[in-house]
Amino acid sequence: MFQLHGWEALLFYFLAFMTLVMAVFVVTARLAIHSALFLVATLVEIALLFILLRAEFVAGVQILVYVGGVMVLFLFVIMLVQTRAEEESRVRLYNSQSVFAYIVAALLAASFYFAVYPAQSAFRPPEQSASAAAVEESEAVQGGPGLISKDTQNVGETLYRQAALPFEIASLLLLVAIVGAVMLARGGNQENGENGFE
């Protein structure tokens, strides 16, 4: 049964607290640039939580693709569309339905809590049973903290064997997204030369 011990437990609590703090700052920052940088911090901490859960490949993909690709794209677009309105306090930050939004979010939290609470015992680690002690850790999580598991090999094998079709569809999706984003951001008057890009 997988369980975090010792220093990893302390690190989990620290990372969880910092993730939630950074997420709150993402949502409540005044400037969009600050919000983007706080989101970068949140994503990096979630990647650290992934490493804590012995999923190093996904942590690497998250940092390379999410932080290095998506967030850089966000930063470029923020710099393209900034109007300095928030900085000079000319604009409101929250729309007129924000109070109801918080009420709905609180209701959602309550509904999650009441949905998960009766089933909590199924998610706790079992007491020392014979089968759990016999196969203590599966082969994917050998070693203690500090050792890299075999997750990368297994995930790579799965992506090319069992999950090969979704893998190909994902690359097709990325191609469509690239073409679509270029079409959207280019403007319609490129051929006529009115857009100023040429």
Binding site: L4, F12, Y66, L73, L184
Partner: protein, 143 residues
């Protein structure tokens, strides 16, 4: 100052490096429920951000928070409830393959990247036409 830090570190080390069976802190060790709680709080923060901000780029970033909460949930489930093949057949509790979480998460990251690209392209087109990124001011279709 250094001796204080060193003694704090040594105390923590002795406290945390006990074997799991004899550890006094065993009830504080994170289990799946703790990871689920982190994931669901992150989700709630993302939902509150989507519904309450006016700047559309911050709304996009809150959507990314929601997707990351789901990723964390998937990988935590897949890691905590994993099993090897021998106990998979004879186990009565919930068991999943340890590869389900990471593989599904990679596809969620791919879809999130594609969606962010298209969404930000739309934002740029919107800004080019309307000179604003506040969603309250994009109301041509309202009654």
């Amino acid at each position: 100052m250094e001796t204080l830090a060193f003694s704090v570190f040594r105390f923590l080390h002795l406290l945390l490096m006990q074997t799991p069976a004899e550890s006094r802190l065993q009830r504080f060790e994170p289990s799946l429920v703790n990871f689920m709680m982190v994931s669901f709080l992150l989700f709630i923060i993302g939902v509150a951000g989507v519904l309450s901000r006016r700047n559309i780029i911050i709304i996009f970033m809150s959507i990314e928070l929601i997707l990351n909460a789901v990723n964390l949930n998937l990988i935590a489930f897949s890691r905590y409830l994993q099993s090897s093949q021998e106990i998979y057949k004879q186990s009565k509790s919930i068991v999943v393959s340890p590869l389900t979480g990471p593989v599904f998460t990679i596809f969620i990251i791919v879809v999130a990247a594609a969606e962010a690209a298209i969404g930000l392209g739309i934002v740029i087109s919107l800004f080019r036409n309307r000179e604003t990124v506040e969603i309250d001011e994009i109301d041509l279709l309202k009654w």
